[in-house]
């Protein structure tokens, strides 16, 4: 069956698929725990009987019994080396079953592994695994392919590419959506239909996981956007486990009662999944009588997708901003990170741009000194796990673009394709193969035409070529090509003409990279923003810009309201309605505070940046260092302790204040030594006990103790009892602080107490950590337990007789 015959059949008929196979095989003696594919290949007559029953019940198509026939699954049974032979044989068995009474669909299902970057299987390995299976099924004579029960859009893409790269037979893609209407990895039905039909699927749909009611919602969601026939294979209701067996709660009559609704919703291929049998298929056959499939009349829309989101673009949609910041030009730090394979700048730019309103992110990694293709692929993989915005793949290299498109788990936007002959010849087939939208750049081998009219001609020429590869106008967005007004004041007017022509005459969307227009001028944001407003007025649908510009984004949102694209001004109100009005600030004027109040405040608020300057001011104003310590710093940190005790402060605030205290105290301390003789600091030896590697809690306690005037000797982690006691003795410590986080290491605390006693050390021992408590402290003979850093300070004060 070729693609034309497939489409023709589905235009006139509802294609009835089969129902569950596994349960039917079990009913006929297939033992549990065996490899079904191998068992069937050794017991072909059983499958033949099942499939003939399905044909008799009304199925026009049976699936080959190859659900687990890929290398990933067969390897679990030690049959990884028999993939081709098993698939070939199983396809032949099904062909023998149906004879001339129906078709055999080569069944392809998940490998059982997740694809990188989400999982650990490389994308190309998945493609290869599926190709091996496809070749076997082709050799067995299948009529077309069904990729089914897919929970991950990327794995389904790998299977679809595998089929497309092996043959030209029709191929259907069926995902599994749960009650929430999404796949396990978060893909919604609209994103699925747009991605797969763009990538060349001949039918798209859903199977398994839900019964008819929930599956209808998926079909209804897909239908308005479907350029291809839709497929549904619902379960027989919801599963229950009864006596160790999975059973379904919907009988065949009830199942059959949904058939008309499925046809009304626009389904073209209908069958059953788990829990169904030939009786259920018979219901479908009976209930489709007299019905024709609904016509395929999709909305004419432009859209791109990520794996979890669809962004619509067009005259009736808000202007889509493509964030331009993931581009190393002029960004030294990003350049360094790209060279080192780091991603923190990319993550920051991505998140910030989306927060500021970018709908799509442009990704350009072109710079000297890197492998652009590898960097682009890695960056795209990173972004697909980091954000859910679709990506605009920006490179002048066809190889780089193909590398990125291949692993991009959605429908991308290509930036860009021009009329330059060699690039056009290379890029159109690539864009077509991966189903991408593209930005049409109206320049050719002679350069950028100055006049708009000359650009129209190039646009028409590129479009004419693109049509040959199956593109329509909604798959293209034309770049208005903004030139610099400082060198040619007519440049912006020519660009606006292109935008208007695209909107009114040629009927495509348009896009501009805004910042170029103002190059060389001062205060560029005014020119950029004015140009954006004018371009939107002329019909612009997309803009490549930095969404961090508040004025630009505000004008965009206002323009969306004025052009009626922001329906009921919802987005505008959401954005600006949430902003606080510009009330005058009611903050107390800090200048009115005295210097000691400001020092006190700096500790209470944890202002590490200003504490030293404030103390310096206080000293210059004639205050004694001891006055600053006794009247400002100590009262302030005591106040912080009170606030923490009352839970008005939480841990980061307590530590931040302690850090400000430390900063201030370190600054003033040398002066104190000159001034007076203060009480000698109490020395504490701190350690995480032997075998324990957790030291964050102990480090925090050490920091707090230091800031409260203790002399802390931190021995680190995994320290033996002997070492701790030895150090305590040598350093004349009055207190030993022990930390342990695990039940297996807390026993070491007892050992420390034992060794200390044995050696007659008179230091007090305090303990802390997630698994210990005051009862344990008492049990092992320690002198106290503290539950957190601040209570450790209080306990240490008490043990040192300072409380």
């Amino acid at each position: 069956m070729n693609k034309l015959e497939f489409r023709k059949y589905l235009k006139e008929n509802i294609m009835v698929l089969d129902g569950a196979t596994g349960t039917e095989l079990q009913k006929r003696g297939m033992p549990s725990g065996v490899c079904p594919e191998k068992w069937v290949s050794e017991n072909p007559e059983v499958l033949i009987n099942v499939q003939r029953e399905y044909i008799k019940a009304g199925s026009k198509v049976v699936y080959s019994c190859t659900f687990g026939g890929n290398g990933g699954k067969l390897s679990e049974f030690g049959l990884g080396h028999e993939v081709f032979e098993i698939n070939k044989k199983l396809a032949q068995i099904s062909k023998e079953a149906v004879l001339d009474n129906g078709f055999v669909a080569g069944d392809i299902a998940p490998t059982g592994h997740f694809i990188a970057p989400f999982g650990n299987m490389p994308f190309e390995k998945a493609v290869d695994i599926f190709k091996e299976q496809v070749k076997g099924l082709l050799a067995g004579g299948v009529d077309f392919f069904v990729i089914e029960t897919m929970v991950d859009i990327q794995e389904a893409r790998a299977a679809l590419l595998a089929v497309k790269e092996c043959c030209d037979l029709p191929v259907c893609v069926s995902m599994t959506f749960d009650e929430s209407g999404r796949t396990l990895t978060g893909t919604d039905p609209v994103t699925a239909i747009i991605t797969f039909q763009s990538l060349g699927a001949d039918a798209v749909g859903c199977n398994c996981s839900t019964g008819p009611e929930d599956m209808l919602k998926v079909i209804k969601a897909m239908k308005p956007y479907a350029k291809v026939p839709l497929l549904a294979k619902p379960n027989a209701g919801l599963p229950r486990l009864i006596d160790g067996k999975t059973c379904f709660d919907m009988g065949e009559d009830e199942f059959g009662s949904y058939v008309k609704e499925f046809i009304d919703a626009g389904v073209n291929l209908l069958g059953g999944c788990c829990g169904t049998s030939p009786l259920y298929i018979e219901q479908i056959k009976n209930n489709i009588k007299g019905f024709k499939p609904k016509a395929i009349e999709p909305k004419i829309i432009s859209c791109v997708t990520s794996s979890r989101k669809t962004v619509y673009i067009g005259a009736n949609e808000p202007v889509a901003v493509v964030g331009e910041r993931i581009n190393p030009t002029g960004k030294k730090k990003l350049q360094e990170e790209l060279k080192e394979g780091k991603t923190s700048q990319i993550r920051t730019f991505a998140n910030e741009q989306i927060e500021k309103g970018a709908a799509i992110l442009d990704v350009n990694v072109g710079m000297p000194g890197i492998d652009e293709k590898e960097t682009m692929v890695n960056t795209v993989q990173f972004l697909t796990t980091t954000v859910d915005a679709p990506l605009c793949l920006d490179s002048s290299s066809p190889e780089v673009l193909e590398g990125a498109l291949r692993i991009y788990p959605g429908r991308a936007l290509i930036n860009s394709i021009s009329a330059e002959k060699t690039k056009l010849e290379k890029l159109l087939p690539i864009a077509s193969k991966y189903g991408a939208m593209f930005i049409l750049l109206p320049l050719n081998d002679e350069g950028v035409p100055q006049r708009a009219e000359d650009r129209f001609k190039i646009i028409e020429d590129v479009y004419e070529e693109a049509v040959k590869y199956g593109f329509s106008k909604e798959d293209i967005v034309v770049d208005g090509l903004v030139m610099t007004v400082s060198s040619d004041q007519n440049a912006a007017i020519e660009t606006l003409k292109v935008i208007k022509w695209c909107s009114d005459i040629f009927k495509t969307g348009s896009i501009v990279g805004l910042s170029n227009v103002s190059f060389g001028l001062p205060e560029r944001s005014w020119v950029n923003t004015a140009f954006l407003a004018m371009a939107i007025g002329n019909g612009l649908t997309m803009a490549i810009s930095n969404p961090s510009s508040e004025i630009l984004m505000s004008i965009k949102m206002a323009s969306d309201v004025l052009t009626g694209k922001d329906k009921n001004s919802i987005k505008y109100i959401e954005h600006f309605g949430a902003k606080k009005s510009d009330k005058p600030a009611t903050v107390k004027n800090v200048i009115e505070l005295s210097t000691e109040e400001r020092i006190y405040d700096a500790v209470v608020k944890g202002d590490t940046e200003n504490i030293k300057n404030l103390i310096d001011t206080g000293l210059k104003e004639g205050r004694e260092a001891s006055f600053i310590v006794d009247k400002c710093l100590i009262p302030a940190i005591t106040r912080v302790g009170d606030l923490y005790d009352k839970k008005e402060y939480f841990l980061p605030q307590l530590i931040q204040s302690a850090e400000a205290m430390k900063e201030g105290f370190n600054f003033v301390e040398p002066l104190l030594l000159k001034e007076d003789t203060r009480e000698e600091k109490v020395r504490i030896v701190l350690a995480t006990v032997k075998g324990d590697i957790h030291d964050i809690g102990k480090n925090i306690v050490g920091l707090m103790l230091k800031n409260y005037g203790f002399d802390v000797v931190d021995l680190g982690k995994d320290v033996s009892a002997q070492e701790i006691v030895k150090n305590a003795r040598e350093k004349n410590a009055r207190i030993i602080g022990l930390s342990a986080l695990m039940t297996t290491t807390m026993i070491e605390m007892k050992e420390v107490v034992k060794v200390a006693k044995k050696e007659g050390l008179d230091a007090k021992i305090m303990i802390g950590g997630a698994v210990v408590d005051s009862a344990y402290a008492k049990e092992i003979g320690a002198d106290g337990y503290s539950e957190d850093a601040y209570s450790a300070v209080k306990l240490a004060n008490k043990l040192a007789g300072r409380a």
């Binding site: 592994h113 970057p117 650990n120 160790g244 030291d695 964050i696 925090i700 920091l703 695990m742 290491t745």
Partner: protein, 210 residues
């Protein structure tokens, strides 16, 4: 017997619950106060923390071969001796072993920040990392439940970790080996501690949906 192969996740899209991040730091909704400037700073620190987590996870399903009041056996010679675990798995057909980690990068940065006088940031990162590692297990539980639903099964509502109650920490070693945690760049010490520190192991049962 292993019901299916180990499932590895190299990038779990988990965003830790901000309220839980704050609660771990002692934040009390009705008592703790801070101004807008601090709130913005804290939000920024939490975001940075999320960005530093490289969250990975793995799980495997194993048929329970024998159940006793104080032990379960699975996967031929593997036994968990614990009344609490046996109670948890009383109605289970299978046991699910799972683990998650946020990677060593954030752990190193936490340590550096605390040592270099920015401990207030360090403790926020520490809380984000702990919550993200736990959040990864929550995400995986949700993921596994969606997978199981098709079989008419679900995970037990609670999960258990070695080191709690009567389930000794030494079981971490057994689970570490079964789940091949070295593939997630996790190591285990001779005292059964996981390195990086922000790594978590848990077990749950698979039951039928009634």
């Amino acid at each position: 017997m292993c019901v299916s192969t180990l499932k590895f996740f190299e990038n779990i899209p988990v965003v830790p619950d901000k309220n839980m991040v704050l609660t771990r730091l002692g934040y009390k909704k009705t008592k703790t106060v801070f101004d807008d400037t601090y709130r913005v700073k804290l939000d920024e620190q939490i975001k940075q923390g999320i960005g530093l987590c490289n969250t990975k996870a793995v799980f495997g399903r194993y048929k329970i071969e024998e159940w006793q009041n104080d032990a379960i056996s699975f996967s031929k010679d593997k036994v968990f001796k614990s009344e609490s675990v046996a109670k948890l798995l009383k109605n289970s057909l299978e046991v699910v072993l799972m683990a998650s980690t946020v990677g060593k990068n954030i752990t190193e940065i936490i340590s550096d920040e605390i040592k270099n006088g920015n401990a207030s940031f360090g403790v926020v990162l520490d809380s984000v990392a702990s919550q993200t590692a736990d959040g990864a297990l929550d995400w995986m539980v949700d993921f596994i439940n969606k997978l199981l639903r098709r079989e008419g099964k679900k995970l037990t509502s609670k999960r258990y970790s070695p080191g709690y109650g009567d389930f000794p920490l030494l079981n971490q070693k057994e689970i570490y080996n079964i789940l091949n945690l070295n593939k997630l760049d996790i190591e285990i010490t001779d005292r059964y501690m996981l390195v990086p520190e922000k790594s978590v192991i848990a077990i749950a049962g698979i039951e039928g949906i009634e």
